[in-house]
Amino acid sequence: MSVTADQRELRDDALNGLQLSTRLDSLWRTPSGFLGALMSVDHKVVGRRYIVTAFVFLLLGGVLAILMRIQLAGPEQTFLSPDKYNQIFTMHGSTMMFLFAVPVMEAFAVYLVPLMVGTRNIAFPRLNAFSYWMFLFGGCFLWISFALNVGPDVGWFAYVPLSSLQYTPTKRPDVWAQMITFTEVAALAVAVEIVVTVFKLRAPGMTLDRIPLFVWAMLVTAFLVMFAMPSIMVASTSLILDRLVNTRFYDSSSGGHPLLWQHLFWFFGHPEVYIIFIPGTGMVSAILATFARRPVVGYPVVILSLIATGFLSFGLWVHHMFVTGLPQLGAGLFTASSMLIAVPSGLQIFCWLATLWDGRPVYRTPLLFVIGFIVIFVMGGLSGVMVASVPIDTQVHDTYFVVAHFHYVLIGGAIFPLIGAVYYWFPKITGRMLGERLGRWNFWLAFVGFNIAFFPMHILGLIGMPRRVYTYTADMDWAHLNLLSSGGALIFALSFALLLVNVIRSLRSGALAGDNPWDASTLEWATSSPPPPQNFDRIPVVKHREPLWLDGESLPVAAGLSVDRREVLLTSLAEAEPQTREASPEPSIWPLLTALATTVFFIGSIFTPWAVLWGTPPMAVALIGWFWPAGSREDEE
């Protein structure tokens, strides 16, 4: 052919607003129908599914928590058998950590990051779709096993030798270990997408020091996922090998060691806490800036704190192992390194306090949740400083004090910001506002219920109540505080019921939101609510950290992207200067089929090592289908 691409293809600068909008909409729209929905590679569609699925798991995990609180409300209750109780606390922990907390944070990133950096889709959209299916299948696999009474019962930490074949000959630990692998695949895929999206797909002009803080937080989180997850992958795969093909990684009688498991597990497990908490801080920064009506104080300080937190989080796993008999001097050093993380966390808190102090705050529900976050999280952080001390830890380790501590950190540090984020971004995602009155009830019930449920646990731990016990006797003096805690848990649960009611009501009849109901400053508010399939008709150009506050209506835009095919604009890493146009993949059924093939392989390998042989060909076929080269423009030329 003699004509060049430039002559043939239509660019967006040749069209007026309405023509462009209509054309892009049909170009980027997810195909209609059930099959079309399964093929979707739109980050908003996948992100929405991801968020909803993760919240369903939150609900399930919450129901388990209530069951445990009923059992522990009084001494020597027989509401749950010890076997059921052990399954339930294992499922609660595993669900909350692997099927709710990490996925929901990544889900928000999948939805928001492309919008916030001003691009049309996430990097590697098919991988993104695949990631969601893996997460869904892994979660369903775990919960179906639980319903069939083969749910794991050795704790979400699954310490060997208890989880070894010798002491748990059932398939329960295998189910747990394979579910880990599913969620790892999903989490790692999203982490890669986020890193590439942030580094290469930012709007022109969005230099490193103009990236929104939420996006920075998700970038740091993505790196944590990439460095932490392989450790648990090694751990759980070694466990499966020990159980299935009789290797001896953890068997001390054959040269292995049970502590190997704990080192590998906590080298993942502690950064995991920050994988959950850092996105929460990103949400806090986003909400706070909008409602304090000013940018967050100390933008570079916040970013450096995030990065420092990320680095430090890999240097303190040993504080989970202070009572395993490690050398004393080493343990003492890990006390110092664990406490050191209070410095960057503290700096962020001070920046937020200063933001509120200097701002003119507007007290809407999202901001209430941020304030609740500060009050609760600071207390959790301070009890964390206590737990980091070797002598104190020898008393409180594995007691309810630790249960109280990490619920203050995780619920205070992640769930409160997250619920705030739901109120904050719901209008963007659905086009409708959540009810403000119900929102306030939701907040106060959550805040009060949470504290009644978890504060007494500090005391319970100090007066001798260990974790993971299914019952206790009346003469232990733990009954009153446990009853109080259970009552608080019910109030806390009620607050989530209100959230659910609020969401359902608003989906039906919530007030219409408009593009930017909170008058926020970041790019996701520069498009309509909900955003069109193409996100932006014209790619915005960023000149400030707060583009919508400083440029507002006259937000500059870039031109030149093709409207003949799905295209995204690649920009340079530091300065975000436009570099090239890149094709973005079309919808495809192959990510789903690949996920199905992978699921068959993973589940098969629980029962027989031969699954490695017969399980891989279908995966190979699916991957070939996925990557089969479509006829591209370049080929025709």
């Binding site: 049970p258 008999g325 006390t335 200097d358 301070l382 100090l462 001798g464 707060e546």
Partner: protein, 327 residues
């Protein structure tokens, strides 16, 4: 809110870190209160700043603020100053912690040494001595002299357990293939409850034990008595019980020194009658609870490794009578 913890120091309890009765638990609680005091001050300061910050300025307009650059600089310096203060506090607390750690883990060469082996779900306690005639084994109950350092060597027969007597000292894990140790000194006589603190399976909740701290001379007398083999029962019912103990299979798992019962799977019962609890702290040692336990251990502690033996009521009474005499 952290202040709410302070009055609790007065809380008594047989298994409470807030009621220390040992040199080590004392030191740990002291360290804890230093941390608690500083944490409380920090938390209250943050909340006060938060509240003032919230109420300080009334909103006049929805428009975002125009930033005032010199003022921003001042704020930035305040934030960095607070960060520096955090660093100083953290380093100070690390030193406090390390000092406490040194005291808690100090070792005394002349400590009384005993070996504790964790089992699902009971504790084997070995009083070992250079002279084999002075060595004996007991279970679920540890007697120690007051005022003298005691070293426990911790091992596990199966999964990971954790030895924890909060009134005396912090915990230490019992790990397969590894020997850990823990040292503590009881300040006063009393019964202190301990409990397994690491999840160890189905009956983790029912893996407790008692530490009886006795005045040294009383401890010495107990040790002499415990060292002896079981006395033969004097009455007819007791003799019948001893015979049934073997005939009904109890002796396959349990040892009673001085008799033909030599099983190694379950707790040593040589002086079971003198213990304060049975089934690893699950029930008090009374005729009724011992009877209930032997009749149906699976009902009391579901999933434990003691099977339910088919016994006629006469047989149960004889065995019960025999065991109660083992003091």
């Amino acid at each position: 809110m952290p202040f709410a913890l302070l009055p609790l120091a007065a809380c008594a309890g047989r298994q409470s870190a807030l009621a220390p009765q040992g040199l080590q638990s004392d030191e740990i609680l002291r360290t804890f209160f230093i941390f608690l005091a500083i944490a409380s001050v920090v938390w209250v300061a943050v909340v006060i700043v938060l509240i003032i910050g919230m109420l300080r300025r009334k909103r006049t307009t929805d428009q975002p603020l125009a930033l005032h650059i010199p003022f921003e600089r001042v704020t930035g310096r305040v934030v960095l100053g607070l960060g520096l203060a955090t660093l100083v506090i953290v380093l100070g607390l690390s030193i406090v912690s390390y000092a406490g750690q040194r005291t808690v883990f100090a070792r005394d060469e002349h400590a009384l040494t005993l070996k504790i082996i964790g089992h699902q779900w009971w504790w084997e306690v070995r009083y070992e001595d250079g002279n084999p005639d002075r060595s004996f084994v007991t279970a679920n109950e540890i007697r120690i002299p007051t005022g003298q350092p005691v070293k426990v060597e911790l091992e596990s027969a199966d999964v990971i357990h954790s030895f924890w007597v909060p009134s005396l000292t912090g915990k230490m894990d019992l790990i397969t293939g590894q020997k850990n140790e823990l040292q503590f000194t009881a300040k006063s006589a009393g019964i202190y409850r301990g409990q397994c603190a690491e999840f160890c399976g189905l009956q983790h909740a029912h893996m407790a034990f008692a530490v009886l701290a006795l005045p040294p001379d009383e401890f010495g007398r107990w040790r002499d008595r415990e060292n002896q083999s079981a006395h033969s029962p004097s009455d007819q019912l007791g003799k019948q019980g001893e015979q049934l103990f073997r005939a009904r299979g109890c002796a396959l798992c349990h040892t009673i020194r001085g008799t033909l019962a030599g099983g190694q799977l379950g707790p040593d019962l040589t002086h079971v009658g003198s213990r304060t609890t049975i089934a690893a702290g699950t029930l008090p040692m009374t005729t009724a609870s011992l009877g209930a336990w032997i009749a149906d251990p699976q009902h009391i502690k579901p999933g434990n490794y003691m099977p339910k033996m088919p016994l006629q009521s006469g047989e149960l009474i004889a065995i019960l009578h025999y065991l109660e005499q083992l003091k």
